[in-house]
Symmetry: C3
Subunit: 347 residues, 3 copies
């Protein structure tokens, strides 16, 4: 994959300053760039790198005034940062632009496959499965009976989706994610053993959601575990049965959400947080990494921290004192002695 | 899959009240049910839904006295909740009732395969592997050399089992679980690098255990890592080398148990808890979510919380004070001033 | 696989005391050993087991003076523990000594495969992939476009490596690990939705590193996420985009390291720890399990604990007081009353 400065200039509607035939075949940060790289300069703090970079082509802001000579070909645009994002996305789209059905793969005769799809080798498309148009299913992926996958969706290698689950349009699911495994439901018996409670619901992942690598989302006991549109889940997250996550909520890695919890819209949850079952988190809540949320949060758009979690500011205040606890205890003991003396005197 | 009210009534030994030919093809909660659904009412608090539900058939308790007309066909049984569980299980059994060997799969000529098994496409059955009767091995599953899997066991898609591991009867292992990876054992050397300690033991998972999605259970250095009968492990759990977990112990998601720890029978461990290596946890212990267990628990059937963990009640009491620490510190500083004054007076 | 005492003695350069034709076909701890086992005695505390063991052959130290008769054949060496490690490694090497290319597998015509490799069935070797000599790729593994894997490296079953990632020599990656998934990067928009930031960098894993089962290492946004030589990562660890981990650093299970964090060399990080993004951890740091590291650690070779983490010793001191907090509060309240009395007296 290689482009000339001219081609990139046309893509970005930019002005070329230097050799329009300069060729790039990779993207790099301006300070790391080697010849053949395309880079960008958006933050004036890094301007010095512009004069020493080995990049062949650099995207810069229209209003940047050069103070030294530059070796690279420059492409001037209104906003260098967003122009570079356009290039990044273009690059990625080309990188991941696979189509066709590789052999061997397993496609059940009753499955319905859309147009312009990619189905990688060793993928398993079970009975009754529906796959939409332009959807990419990478190798070693498993779609059980009646799974429904929308259009323009990408399932990376080794995704496993249990029966009856529904995946929307423009969804990305990363490698190793398991969608629709049994919820963790067991009924204790008198002899100390447990009876499994059958989990017959499903998982629904709505449009534009992204699910990280090795994340697990359990099917509902009955009904659906719901990941609403625009939700972004990082890697190694646990979503238990019957959880519902509101639109555009973002959850960082290794967080766990227990059964039947309802998370509002536009919530932000840090990494390694834990949320107990059967509670609600109000929309716009912000939950710090490693927090433990033990009860419902009803007030919207507040920040929480700690385990068990309290409002962020009060957690911060308590933490400060915790680190002074040994001195504090010492002081109390000294005061106690003084008081005992005083008491003796006054009595 | 569809059933008439009559068929369900016969299965449950119930009395039909309404149209015995009413057809259902799915199961749903009474408040969510659409036509064609089978539902149930066990908790009298939800009785109102019985009169407005769109379910075609509802299972209710024999002793329920109707106060309004009902559209659905009713099936009366002694215990609506457990009757519905029977239906759930029946439904699930039918859903998951796969048999036969799909192609392509890899079955080594030295492997021994039982009767009435399911082996999904792209599964790998290595040299010397034994698979029992009625066992289901979903697609993309890997069984390394000499793995032994019992009867009536289900390995969902993408399970990976390393060599020499032994899986019992009626075990369920969910997608992406890794059984028998190397224990994390390295010997430091003088130059700061580490030498790997070979891990040549195995993992034994006894009868009726269930292992969650993407959970990892490492093989013993020597001997066996043991998951006893009836143990239930949730998703994304880490079980290190040489751990032994007693019968009927239940562990919630994302908990980690370090090397050589011995967990007793009928222990309950919440999510995201951590247990250090080489300790013992007494039978019947209950460990709260996010706890950190740093030393052995010898007293049976006690509740623990916190990191490092202390008895549950004392953790609760400390937590309450932690949230008051800033005021407490303020109070101490005020007392200090007062005492200084008093001292001046008395001296 | 079976060996005689004589063969083992030759391998270890040891002296045989007993029947040189004694046959062993497994390795076991001295206290668990059954006939046909090879065992060892290094720690004098376990000497008693030597006289009662059922092992057929036992490796002991040259200087051990027997106090009772022994049934097993003995092999005397300078250091029984390290001699046994040699046997363990030999055993493991034989166990895992697979070569050849199993069918069906997918090897793109543009891939370059070294000599003496093992490629298991259902593995996917994409376009432009390079695989070095003596490398073992177990079944159901996925190597995307242009992945480069060195010599003498082992990828266990079901490893998934995204495009452009580079794996060194003598690396071990365990089942289910995902290398090179997209970093978790999203730009918020005015309407509450998020735009994905394309992640076009890669992951570099240097020589002699080991990566645990189901661990996830995200690709860099640009540039590389770097796992330096000799790093050992346990299972279920999250390494975010653009993280750099220094040589010979060891990380225990379920720890998460956030984006762009730089971890020094020879750091030791316990399980379930969390490290926020964009900070640096000085070389030789030791971080306790379940810690939360919220800011850079600049001083080398110090021990840290708690969340947010503080120096280990001060965390220990604070923890002790936390458990006494309820009594401490009570004492403060009592002092307050006494002071009020004293004040009344003195006024």
């Amino acid at each position: 994959m290689q482009f000339t400065a001219l081609e990139i200039g046309l893509l970005l509607n930019g002005t070329i300053d230097g050799d329009p035939k300069a060729i790039v075949n990779q993207l790099a940060k301006i300070e790391d760039a080697t010849p053949g790289s395309l880079s960008f300069l958006a933050n004036p703090r890094y301007e010095q790198y512009l004069y020493s970079t080995h990049a062949s082509v650099v995207i810069i802001n229209n209003d940047l005034v050069l103070t030294e000579p530059v070796n690279a070909t420059l492409i001037r645009v209104d906003n260098a940062y967003s122009a570079f994002s356009v290039v990044l996305e273009k690059y990625n789209t080309v990188k991941l632009n696979k189509t066709g059905i590789e052999q061997p793969c397993f496609i059940h005769e009753s499955a319905q496959i859309g147009e312009n799809v990619y189905i990688g080798a060793f993928s398993y498309i079970g009975p009754g499965v529906k796959v939409g148009n332009n959807t990419k299913i990478y190798p070693n992926t498993y779609l059980a009976d009646n799974v429904c996958v929308g259009n323009d969706t990408t399932l990376f290698a080794g995704v496993k989706i249990y029966f009856d689950c529904i995946i929307g349009n423009n969804v990305i699911i990363h490698s190793g994610a398991v969608i629709g495994g049994d919820g963790f439901g067991f009924a204790p018996t008198a002899d100390g053993t447990y009876n499994k409670v059958s989990q017959i619901g499903n998982v629904i992942i709505e449009d534009n959601a992204e699910i990280g690598a090795n994340t697990t989302i359990d099917r509902a006991t009955m009904g659906s575990t719901i990941i609403s549109h625009g939700v972004k889940l990082d890697n190694l997250i646990q979503i238990a049965h019957n959880v519902e996550i509101g639109a555009n909520t973002v959850v960082a890695s290794q967080t766990g959400i227990s059964g039947s919890a309802k998370i509002g819209e536009n919530v932000i949850i840090g990494g390694q947080a834990g949320i107990v079952g059967h509670i609600s988190i109000a929309k716009g809540s912000q939950i710090q990494a490693q927090s433990g949320i033990g009860r419902s949060i009803t007030e919207e758009s507040k920040k929480w921290a700690g385990s068990p979690a309290v409002p962020y500011a009060s957690n911060m205040r308590s933490q400060v004192v915790i680190n002074r606890l040994p001195e504090l205890e010492k002081k109390i003991n000294e005061l106690e002695k003084i008081i005992a003396e005083l008491r003796n005197i006054s009595i």
